[in-house]
């Protein structure tokens, strides 16, 4: 909402300066966006009298002028052809800045003649493109006075943002009323006199869609002369960025801004059949005043004459019946619409008009009669003509409501005790009328323009609430909401600075744990992965559905209906997808190694789950002690394992199988399970097909740890640690097994062979090559036997080793190498 300072003061009688006003606007909820003062740059320029303009002695095209600036006569050299003796012009003194060029004037000498200033053109002042010469002012322009003030260019324009509840503040008068109530002046009275109508209106109304249009007034003014509107009106509109069109149209725009009361003017001679009807659209096309064609939807309320649709009611008028320079008879529309209908029509057709903006927030339902009188008077004043009687259809809807305020609630909800008189004064300042006043409470009537106060209660209660509880809650809402509305008004006008801050009372001397165990898991996984050298990322939850399909399903059910860009339309099924894109981007930026992870949601048709995932791509850095190597499945597994371990899972009892999702390399990937079914993690190299589709060479591996699936750790007392007194015995075995036998199977068999004695078993070597038969590999393992009662004899160690060999042979078919 924009308005000029002078416009505001037509409604607000105030001594306050613009700074105080804009500060207060922000404090009371009409937030200042900006103040633009077009006069600021013109402030140094004065009206001057050219006492004499003589030919410059040394230059054909220059004139040497004696200029009376009001503060003395100075010499100015001027190049403008129209500089002449006796004219009134605009003088820029030395030290001032020329807006168009940014140049700062200095006293100088031009070809031997002193020049102590400059006579300005409109273009030099940034006021237009006219560069035919310097500005010529009328002879009565007062010498010495500021030019901007004289020309009315010193009128700052204020722009505020108006919240959706405050339709009434989308008007200069509404803003003035709030300011007056906030103590910054007095609201000037406004009571237009009725205009005596003569004769019937050329056009009448009919409402066939009463749920959309409640009430409409209209009046014909015959014999008008339409043309450019007067200066003051043009200036008002221009100041807030509205283009003057013609007097009749400008009048409607004026009232839209001045009173928040949109009007429309029809050329009565172009309305067919003498009747305008509010009815549903029927698929007709019509051309609107913005030059575009629209097709009226059955849900739109249109205004139609005998020829068809002439207007999308309350949103935009039509070209066919619009007023032009030749309009002789005008029909003024002043209507009241259902805000929801207007909002939907505006949204349906993507039309953002000043009328829509106001109607969809709700205009003053009681203002219509006054507004049409004021509009008629202005038409008569500016265009002449003869007014008809007012015609109408529908009727003023019931808008009267009242609300009660218990003064103590200002303290017990608002946190500040307000003296009752002050509270009441704030409300009456806003136009509330006291209906009843007692010591503890006041009941006020709500003014017609405040449709946000004590509004009809619309609830949408949670399904499945206990009916008794739901009823009590609804009743409580009906009782407390109007009061909360009033509390807000009082606090708003008084300023929230009066509310003393109070720290929240403690609920326990030491606060209990803030996070649930599930939330702690995410935090723990995050710290573990970062500490393991992975960089945390936050990537988008959506990506291109074609890219998402590389990483599994990309179901329609998880595709946005209105994506912001086609490459952000599919909710990711795995974080690996967005992380792989991120790693590829880093590779493209020349990062040779990327270890990325993220903790966030993965989306499936049956819901979302929290996943810790990572992508490890590229090669490790080169170093004399650690040669560079490509990151692979084993690195991904290491990261996943660290995370699982940090979450308290017994790593040795988890199983790993080679059946990971198909975005992994089928031979270099695995799935980690607890028990037969519970999948806790996946890891592996990314499938070469995926890398190729991403135009990326890798190498790249990835992992996922499904945090939500990790079982809640059981809280139990820890057993004391196992600290045997005897030295463990380590024995190495090398088995020849089939190349497809997992090393894990060898280890499991070895561990199970002599369970009581075996403390651990590790792989220390895997060899495939020409020293073993084809199709086989050698797996070297170290088994640790832990004696408990006494040192083992050689024979006992021998026997245990034999058991290991037998168990491995049985489980894997492997033989000692």
């Amino acid at each position: 909402m924009k308005f000029s300072w002078s416009w505001l003061r037509t409604h607000l009688d105030t001594d306050a300066g613009i700074g105080a006003v804009t500060d207060r606007l922000t404090a009371i909820g009409l937030e200042l966006e900006r103040v633009e003062d077009p006069g600021a740059a013109l402030a140094p320029f004065r009206i001057a009298h050219v006492v004499e303009a003589a030919q410059h002695p040394n230059a054909d095209r220059l004139r040497a002028c004696q200029v009376d600036t009001g503060a003395g006569v100075v010499s100015v050299v001027c190049g403008a052809p129209n500089a002449r003796t006796g004219m009134r012009a605009v003088f820029a003194p030395p030290g001032s800045t020329i807006p168009a060029t940014g140049a700062v004037l200095k006293v100088g000498e031009i070809r031997g003649v002193e020049s102590a200033g400059m006579l300005l053109s409109l273009r030099e002042m940034g006021l237009g493109e006219d560069h035919d010469g310097i500005v010529e002012l009328p002879d009565d322009a007062p010498v010495g006075q500021g030019y901007a003030a004289w020309a009315g260019l010193d009128d700052p324009v204020v722009e505020i943002s108006v919240t959706p509840n405050r339709g009434d503040a989308l008007s200069v008068r509404g803003v003035a009323r709030d300011l007056a109530a906030a103590g910054l002046g007095r609201l000037r009275p406004w009571a237009p006199a009725a205009v005596q109508g003569m004769g019937a209106s050329a056009v009448s109304w009919a409402i066939d869609m009463p749920d959309a249009c409640f009430w409409v007034l209209g009046r014909t003014v015959r014999g008008v002369r339409n043309g450019p509107s007067p200066d003051w009106l043009q200036r008002r509109l221009l100041s807030i960025g509205l283009r003057p069109i013609s007097a009749l149209v400008d009048i409607t725009n004026f009232f839209t801004i001045d009173l928040g009361r949109p009007l429309h003017v029809f050329d009565a001679d172009r309305v067919q059949g003498g009747m305008l009807r509010f009815r549903p659209g029927a698929g007709e096309s019509f051309r609107a005043l913005n030059g575009r064609d629209y097709v009226a939807d059955p849900a739109d309320c249109v205004i139609a004459d005998a020829a068809g649709v002439q207007s999308l009611a309350g949103v935009i008028g039509g070209e066919a019946t619009g007023c032009t320079e030749t309009t002789a008879n005008v029909f003024i529309e002043c209507a009241l619409f259902d805000p929801v209908h207007i909002a939907l029509t505006g949204r349906r057709h993507s039309i953002a008009s000043d009328a829509r903006q106001r109607f969809e927030r709700g205009v003053d339902p009681a203002l219509l009669p006054d507004a049409i009188e004021a509009a008629t008077q202005m038409v008569l004043d500016l265009c002449g003509g003869e007014p008809s009687v007012v015609v109408q259809a529908g009727s003023e809807p019931a808008w009267r409501r009242s609300a009660a305020l218990r003064f103590d609630r200002l303290r017990s909800l608002g946190g500040t005790a307000v003296p009752p008189d002050e509270a009441v004064a704030a409300l009456t300042g806003l136009g509330f009328i006291v209906e009843a006043r007692a010591t503890e409470a006041v009941r006020v009537a709500v003014p017609s323009w405040r449709n946000d106060i004590a509004a009809p209660i619309v609830l949408d209660q949670a399904p499945g609430l206990d009916p008794e509880r739901a009823r009590a809650a609804a009743e409580g809402c009906a009782e407390t909401e109007p009061e909360a509305d009033l509390i807000e008004e009082v606090l708003r006008l008084r300023g929230l600075d009066h509310v003393l801050p109070v720290s929240l009372p403690r609920i326990a001397p030491v606060p209990p744990a803030v996070l649930t165990p599930r939330q702690v898991r995410s935090a723990l996984a995050r710290r573990t992965l970062a500490a393991a050298g992975l960089m945390e990322c936050v990537s988008f939850s959506f990506l291109d559905h074609a890219q998402a399909a590389l990483f599994g399903d990309a179901p329609e059910a998880l595709r946005l209906l209105n994506p912001i860009a086609s490459d952000l339309d599919q909710m990711r099924g795995t974080l690996v997808a967005t992380l792989a894109l991120a790693a590829a981007r880093n590779a493209a930026r020349g990062q040779t190694e990327a270890r990325l992870f993220e903790i966030g949601p993965a989306f499936r048709e049956d819901g979302q789950e929290t996943v810790a995932a990572g992508v490890l791509a590229g090669v490790t850095p080169r170093h004399p002690l650690a040669p560079s190597r490509g990151l692979g499945a084993v690195d991904a597994k290491a990261a996943a394992t660290e995370a699982l371990q940090a979450l308290g899972l017994p790593i040795d009892s988890l199983s790993v199988s080679a059946d990971a999702p198909n975005f992994y390399h089928p031979g270099r990937s695995g799935t980690v399970r607890q028990g037969p079914r519970l999948v806790l993690a996946t890891f592996g190299e990314l499938h070469p097909r995926v890398l190729q589709a991403l135009d990326w060479t890798g190498p790249a591996a990835a992992f996922e740890v499904f945090l939500d699936r990790v079982p809640e750790p059981k809280r139990r007392r820890r057993a004391p640690p196992d600290l045997p007194a005897f030295q463990p015995v380590r024995r190495d075995f090398a088995f020849l097994v089939g190349a497809d036998v997992p090393a894990d199977a060898v280890l499991r068999a070895a561990r199970g062979a002599e369970r009581a004695l075996t403390a651990a078993a590790h792989v220390f070597d895997v060899y495939e090559g020409d020293k073993v038969p084809p199709g086989q590999k050698s797996v070297g393992i170290e088994v640790v036997f832990q004696p408990r009662e006494r040192t083992l004899t050689d024979a006992e160690i021998e026997a245990a080793g034999a058991k290991v060999v037998a168990a491995v042979a049985k489980a894997t078919g492997g033989a000692l190498r």
């Binding site: 919240t163 949408d460 949670a462 809650a473």
Partner: protein, 357 residues
């Protein structure tokens, strides 16, 4: 001492001095103290000495033996030290070589900021609530007093998904305020909940991202007033930014789910970007007393329960706190940016270690 003793001693000293390595030293040792050694020979010969001289010679011989053993051992130590010195003289490591690189992992500033919020609000008795990214319009809008045709819905630039849940259209939540509803439905009051999480709006430029993070807060009790709202948020903001006297301003505004509603500004210097002073104000979060309709939609009787809610942009406060100029890199996963703004996982946000920068 007899001359032959003296001679043995002198000759041994000379031989030791001449022994330049352990091998030569060992030959000297064996030549003196070994089974065939000269001292051993002298000891063996002691029996042949006349008994009257034997005692004195025996004592002298023992002294000599101790002396020689000492000399030999001292020379061994000398040679050992020299040998070690000689070995070390050849052993060099280029100490300017960097250690093998260890990959560096850091926590994203969004996570870090949410951790800080959790620590601070946790100290004020809040727990952390969660919602779903894909929500129905009831949780995101209707329950929050934003009915279907409310202008605020249009302002939110909502992403929609096909299908519905509980007969309601699905969308990506535009605000974490849905967690207010979830909390009130799931947990009987009194309530103190914050909900940091992902939110989505169809808007993309230097100051908007189609995905971003908010942190919602909700306090419900019987006698919570706007004074508590102010106190709680001032307490938080001053601790979060680590500025004890950070100016905080509350000004009236409007949100459909609160009444009275207010925007919260902090003091800063618009020119330098420095927080805490400078006479300018910067909008930082929205807040208000929970609207009676929102309470009623969740089955709470507003005559019995009241409280406040607030919501702030996580990236926004992170940008302000750390002077991060642009929003977009938060989601670009550029390692260079992450290395610059990431936080150590070994220094998690904790009150006892301090959370301000």
């Amino acid at each position: 001492m007899t001359d032959d003793f003296q001679a043995l001693r002198a000759e041994t000293e000379a031989a030791l001095a001449a022994a330049s390595d352990l091998r030569a030293w060992d030959a000297v040792r064996v030549g003196v103290l070994g089974k065939q050694g000269r001292l051993t020979a002298l000891l063996k010969e002691l029996g042949k000495v006349a008994p009257e001289q034997r005692r004195e010679r025996g004592a002298q011989l023992n002294v000599l033996k101790d002396e020689l053993a000492g000399l030999i051992e001292a020379r061994r130590v000398e040679l050992d030290v020299a040998a070690l010195d000689a070995r070390l003289a050849g052993e060099r490591t280029d100490v300017s070589l960097p250690p093998p690189p260890r990959p560096q992992g850091l926590v994203h500033p969004i996570s870090r900021t949410m951790e800080e919020m959790t620590a601070l609000f946790g100290a004020m008795g809040f727990t952390v609530g969660e919602g779903l990214d894909i929500e129905t319009d009831w949780f995101n809008f209707s329950a929050l007093n934003i009915p279907a045709h409310h202008p605020a819905r249009a302002d939110h630039d909502t992403f929609y998904l096909p299908g519905e849940r509980d007969g309601r259209p699905l969308l990506l939540r535009t605000q974490t305020s849905d967690v207010q509803i979830i909390s009130m439905l799931q947990t009987p009051p009194p309530l103190r909940v914050i909900a940091p999480g992902r939110t989505y709006r169809a808007d993309h430029d230097a100051t908007h991202s189609p995905m971003f993070h908010q942190c919602e807060g909700l306090v419900i009790d019987r006698d919570i007033t706007l004074g508590h709202l102010k106190g709680c948020l001032i307490d938080f903001l001053r601790a979060f930014f680590g500025i004890a006297h950070l100016p905080v301003r509350f000004r009236s505004s409007y949100f459909p789910f609160t009444e009275p509603s207010m925007e919260v500004d902090i003091g800063w210097n618009r020119r330098t970007g420095e927080l805490g002073g400078g006479g300018d104000w910067l909008e930082i979060l929205g807040s208000g007393m929970v609207h009676p309709r929102v309470l009623a939609n969740c089955g709470l009787d507003p005559r019995e329960w009241q409280g406040f809610a607030f919501g702030m942009g996580v990236e926004r406060v992170a940008m302000l706190k750390h002077g991060i100029p642009d929003l977009r890199p938060f989601f670009e996963s550029d390692l260079r940016w992450l290395r610059h703004y990431g936080a150590s996982p070994l220094a998690p946000a904790s009150l006892h270690e301090g959370i301000a920068p």
